[in-house]
Symmetry: C2
Subunit: 142 residues, 2 copies
DNA sequence: CGAATAATGAAAATATTTTCAATAAGAAAT
DNA sequence: ATTTCTTATTGAAAATATTTTCATTATTCG
């Protein structure tokens, strides 16, 4: 997700483009790996950016709700990475090293009717994650 | 999930059936609604059961890994309910009241091959949740 | 430049995880 | 059935992580 797209998204949703939000976006954009809230905080402090840890939590929640970032929950570790694809997609997480693979497809929407029929719920969203072992970690499994 | 099934599952996996674990299982079995770790703790204290909050967290994690319970994350609230079906299945969570609907189907396993082909990952697990509004809450949406 | 109000951040409140010494469950022997 | 042994599990306390509160600040829109 590039900077232009990021700014447009906020304008469209009537969200304010605050300094903290932009700092966090930039930090994620420059990162090689997914980052935890604490890692983001420390990294920004090191660069003398004035920001509160609370804002990091809040911004990450917001970004997630906008599908801008993917929240990677692996055991008790929580990290975030910027989504590269702007279209709806899912991920596979390595149970060993935490690396994230991108899946550029989703056939779930076709299920919504089935879900509504069997439960009466109106479906508005879904969450799908795969877990497994990446090419690097697979051989290490006994 | 009934008590016999519960005990067999533990024996099969070489897990010890400790008193705290059984207390938590019973509490979930008797509950009408999903319970948070804190609610479980308070409820057991009220019944004069000796148990530590830490054990509740640990047992719930264990139960989840055994697919005995479903962890319902809705905003910042976390609750658990015992799974009624012993076969693999998924849930739909009401964004308004938190009620959980059970879906007794899953066609995801057919995706695993596709996931492996596109990412090289060995797939061992997946997580799929639907979100929406239940029959009761749907009319309240504007 | 002012409103109007969404967003921030410090501090307090909660929630969750980790550590580690003590305990209890299960297996095996008596 | 009781004792003994091994080791998984517990729980109190400390460490971390996350959320809430609320007074202050910064954005955006005339
Ligand atoms: Zn890996
Ligand atoms: Zn999808
Ligand atoms: Zn509802
Ligand atoms: Zn499934």
């Amino acid at each position: 997700m590039n900077t232009g797209l990021f700014k447009r998204l906020f304008k469209d949703k009537n969200l304010r483009m605050s300094h903290p939000r932009f700092l966090i976006y930039q930090e994620l954009l420059g990162a090689q790996n997914p980052l935890s809230p604490q890692e983001l905080y420390q990294s920004l402090l090191k660069k003398r950016r004035k920001i509160g840890l609370t804002s990091i939590y809040r911004s990450l929640d917001l970004f997630e709700s906008l599908n801008m970032v993917f929240k990677i929950i692996n055991g008790s570790s929580v990290k975030y990475k910027l989504c590269e694809l702007k279209d709806h997609h899912h991920h596979i997480i390595c149970r060993s090293c935490g690396h994230v693979g991108v899946l550029n497809f989703c056939d779930i929407s076709s299920w919504s009717k089935k879900v509504t029929e069997s439960t009466g719920y109106q479906v508005v969203d879904h969450q799908l994650n795969f877990y497994g072992f990446c090419k690097k970690c697979k051989p290490l499994q006994k």
